[in-house]
């Protein structure tokens, strides 16, 4: 291998706006990347990691960014060195695609909706290899097969919206591969995907890297995710590279405080070793919420006279929740976990089944906290009106008693008293979620349903909100129904776990038991897919299992579920072929 690295970035500075030098988002980042090497860039939102990625091929120019200092040198295919910071747009066009391929975070929006995926991939071949017509089509098909898209030939004529998120990300990868780049920049490529799909994409990337020998820059907020794939890790905070080093060294002996903080804050999934030891189930207590045979279906393909079928979003779900305990419902998108929450709160109609709330101490014993703290607070109301709403809705006056409760709850969730006169946009995401929690507690409920309540938060914020939730649970004797896709978070907060798959609970029981010895094949798959620093040496296996369709013909009824006891408080649904 030659002495000069593939990419050398020196003291790179990038700014935005009319005075880029005064508004720097990147404040001097340096690193080198050898051919075939994988560098992971890790940081929280606002750390500048994506700007860094977009600067390497100067796509940042189109987002209003300017390189204000430093240099980027790229060793091109013919061995010449290109100064990217000073290159003309004409030169850059040949770098993009040919030398540097890129995949992005949002597979849903990164493909052009009006062109077929075949056409978009063929374009990449035409631009970078001069292949056109039938040859381009054959090449497109071949590369689709390489990213393991089944039935590639017909898929070429699909439009992006006809494919799932994971499929689209594969198409993006195929497009980047079309030019056989020597460097692939992957900007949070799996963040928007489900965990099992994420595992599939990671396995695919690892395999392709081995096949092609390309170098990779992998941008992520999840340090656990890259542990298995990166040769080196670069940690970014507020536009600076605070630490970089060889993966094992950095993970095992972090030197910078922020790296240590990140490693500590990231919820590590440890297969049932880190579950809560407090508040074990008391068999004598009466359930505060009992759900029996819950079925929720949405009609689809409305024909002229009657629906052609239905989405079986939730099918025959039952569980109970005791006072003071946390039941986590885990599952991937489309598994029906949020539908359960909404059905319990009466936000959507049940098709069948019963939800009974035990004798609580208020008229509305069940309250809810939603996923998106930006969407769940009316932007036009001040905090006082927001917090008063539950009281007003239940015919209480906005009097001293209500105000006292507001102040008490603000204090408990860690917000200042003067927050009352402010508006939601004046708070950060974490603070907003604290507001939502305070609001949910205004009516002194017995049960709080937390629907992906910490998923939208940065890892360090997430950790603190989780601690807050546990404290509040103890103080107010709350029961939580904790809905999440994140196994590591679930492990920390729950006493019991229910695993949802395709609208049904497939496994339910004591958290430690379910997470440490999963019985159902889906639970095993889900747990195996969780990225983890500790298990970084395990190889990702390529697994292309697709989630089954939930659309059933009208009148379809699933077979009654049969269950097996796998231990004390641990039940598993029998699988069809078992």
């Amino acid at each position: 291998m030659t002495a000069s690295p593939l990419l050398r970035v020196r003291d790179l500075r990038v700014g935005f706006g009319r005075q880029p030098a005064a508004n720097e988002v990147l404040k001097g980042v340096s690193f080198e990347l050898a051919a075939g090497e994988t560098l992971a860039v890790v940081g929280e939102s606002g750390s500048g990691k994506s700007v860094m990625a977009l600067s390497v091929n100067r796509l940042v120019d189109f987002g209003g960014g300017r390189i204000t200092g430093g240099g980027i040198e790229l060793c091109r295919r013919d061995g010449s060195i290109l100064d990217v910071t000073g290159a003309t747009e004409h030169d850059l066009r040949h770098v993009r695609g040919r030398d540097i391929g890129m995949i992005f975070q949002e597979p849903m929006t990164s493909l052009n909706p009006v062109h077929t995926i075949g056409r978009q991939i063929e374009e990449a071949f035409r631009l970078n290899r001069g292949i056109t017509g039938g040859a381009a089509r054959a090449a497109a098909r071949e590369v689709l097969e390489r990213v393991r898209i089944p039935d590639a030939k017909t898929r070429l004529d699909y439009f992006p919206h006809q494919l799932s998120g994971g499929m689209r990300q594969r198409v993006m990868i195929a497009m980047a591969l079309a030019s056989s780049p020597r460097l692939l920049i992957a900007d949070e490529p799996t963040t928007a995907l489900d965990v099992t799909v994420q595992a599939q994409i990671m396995a695919l990337l690892a395999e392709l890297r081995a096949e092609t020998g390309m170098a990779m820059i992998f941008i992520t907020h999840d340090i656990g995710l890259v542990a298995g794939i990166a040769d080196r890790i670069l940690v970014m905070q507020a536009g600076l590279a605070v630490e970089q080093g060889e993966t094992t060294r950095l993970l095992d002996h972090p030197e910078h405080d922020y790296t240590r903080h990140l490693l500590k804050a990231v919820p590590h999934f440890s297969a049932g070793q880190a579950t809560r030891k407090d508040g074990k189930r008391d068999g004598a207590a009466l359930p505060i919420v009992k759900v029996e045979g819950l079925v929720v279906r949405f009609p689809v393909g409305t024909g002229l006279f009657r629906p052609k079928g239905a989405v079986h979003a939730v099918d025959g779900v039952g569980f109970d929740l005791l006072p003071g305990e946390t039941l986590a419902i885990v599952g991937e998108s489309g598994s029906g976990k949020s539908t359960i929450a909404r059905a319990i709160l009466g936000l959507i109609e049940k098709t069948r089944g019963r939800v009974t709330a035990g004798a609580g101490h208020t008229r509305r014993p069940i309250q809810m906290v939603f996923q998106d703290p930006f969407a769940s607070l009316n932007p036009r109301l001040d905090v006082e009106s927001l917090l008063a709403e539950p009281a007003v809705a239940n015919r209480q006056r906005r009097d001293a008693g209500v105000r006292d409760r507001m102040r008490l709850l603000l204090d408990r969730v860690g917000l200042p008293q003067d927050a009352l006169s402010r508006y939601p946009h004046q708070f950060s995401g974490g603070q907003r979620q604290r507001l939502c929690i305070a609001r949910a507690l205004m009516l002194n409920p017995d049960v709080v349903v937390l629907d992906e309540a910490v998923s939208a938060l940065d890892v360090s914020v997430q950790a603190r909100v989780l601690e807050l939730l546990i404290d509040l649970q103890r103080e107010f004797g709350l029961a939580y129904l904790f809905i999440s896709h994140d196994m590591a978070v679930v492990e920390r907060i729950s006493h019991r776990v229910a695993v949802m798959y395709a609208g049904e609970i497939v496994e339910i029981g004591d958290a430690a038991a379910v997470l440490s010895s999963p019985q159902h094949s889906y639970t095993r798959r889900l747990i195996a897919a969780v990225p983890s620093v500790d298990r970084r040496h395990r190889h990702f296996a390529v697994d292309a299992t697709q989630v089954p369709s939930l659309v059933r013909p009208a009148g379809y009824e699933p077979a009654a579920a049969r269950w097996r006891e796998a231990g004390n408080d641990h039940r598993v649904r029998l699988e069809a072929d078992a």
Binding site: F370, A375, P379, Q426, F427
Partner: protein, 279 residues
């Protein structure tokens, strides 16, 4: 106040709002009778005088002062525009909001009714109404209001539907908030921004339509002064007295421009994407 400051900081908002303010002032002076001359009185000796110090904008065929007539005409136009848009805003908002909130059947029925109204090109619908009721300023108000109601209903229904699905509305329902509370505090309050923009643009369009109907002789009836009518009367005289065409034409254009510019500025100022979101 903060809102007006923001409007005046915006380049086109500054121009637009100034024009509107001037027009309102001029209309007020006209309404108070503070015109340089009597707008209705004919001075046959001073027929078709070009602009001079005495008659700043000249006189018409009957010797009436153009400036004075212009001032009254602006007032007339503004009254019709504000009146019709006010009616359309209220009616359209109520229809759009209820259609979105009740959903399914009500939504279908209400919006199909709106579609029926929208199936007529605006001026033609106005003409149909005028054919029935007969011309006059009240007819213009009614006609423009009926034409604009379905547009407001559509403008409100779209955002109302998406607001209805927002999580804060779900949250309100979990507390048991009343429908009236949700409709007013969560939906209507958030609709004020898009409505303000639409109202301003509707005012520009109402001004245009009022002048157009008067131009066709189907709006304000003579001898009452009106911009469209003045323009129409100038047609046969344009070779001899171009000022008769120029000033009313400019007055109409500037008025429309004022509302259009303000509407544009408001769209920028009130755009949720522009408002600070700590990310």
């Amino acid at each position: 106040m903060r809102f007006l400051q923001a409007l005046f900081r915006h380049p086109s908002g500054r121009i637009g709002a100034s024009i509107i303010a001037i027009y309102l002032g001029v209309a007020l002076l006209g309404a108070l009778g503070l015109t340089p001359h009597n707008a209705l009185k004919q001075f046959p000796i001073d027929r078709l005088k070009p602009p001079s110090l005495l008659y700043l904008m000249g006189t018409d065929l009957l010797g009436r002062d153009t400036l004075s007539r212009l001032m009254l005409g602006i007032g007339q136009s503004l009254v019709v525009a504000f009146g019709s848009v006010a009616i359309a805003t209220v009616a359209g908002t109520v229809i759009g909001l209820l259609a979105a909130w009740w959903g399914s059947l009500w939504d279908g029925v209400l919006m199909r009714l709106m579609d029926v109204l929208l199936a007529f090109p605006a001026i033609l619908l106005a003409l149909l109404i005028i054919a029935i009721v007969g011309p006059g300023p009240f007819t213009s108000v009614t006609a423009i209001a009926i034409v604009y109601t379905p547009i407001f209903a559509r403008v409100v229904r779209g955002p109302a539907l998406s607001l209805k699905r927002r999580e804060f509305v779900d949250a309100a329902r979990t507390f048991g908030s009343s429908q009236a509370y949700i409709l007013t505090r969560h939906l209507l309050l958030n609709l004020i921004a898009p409505l303000t923009v639409q109202v301003t643009l509707a005012l520009a369009w109402a001004l245009l339509t009022e002048a157009g109907l008067s131009f066709l002789g189907l709006g304000t009836q003579p001898p009452a002064p009106s911009l469209g009518l003045m323009l129409s009367e100038s047609r046969n005289l344009m070779q001899h007295a171009p000022w008769l065409m120029l000033f009313p034409g400019l007055a109409i254009m500037l008025g429309i421009l004022g509302f259009n510019l303000t509407g544009d500025a408001l769209r920028d100022i009130l755009d949720p994407r522009m408002q600070g979101r700590p990310a």
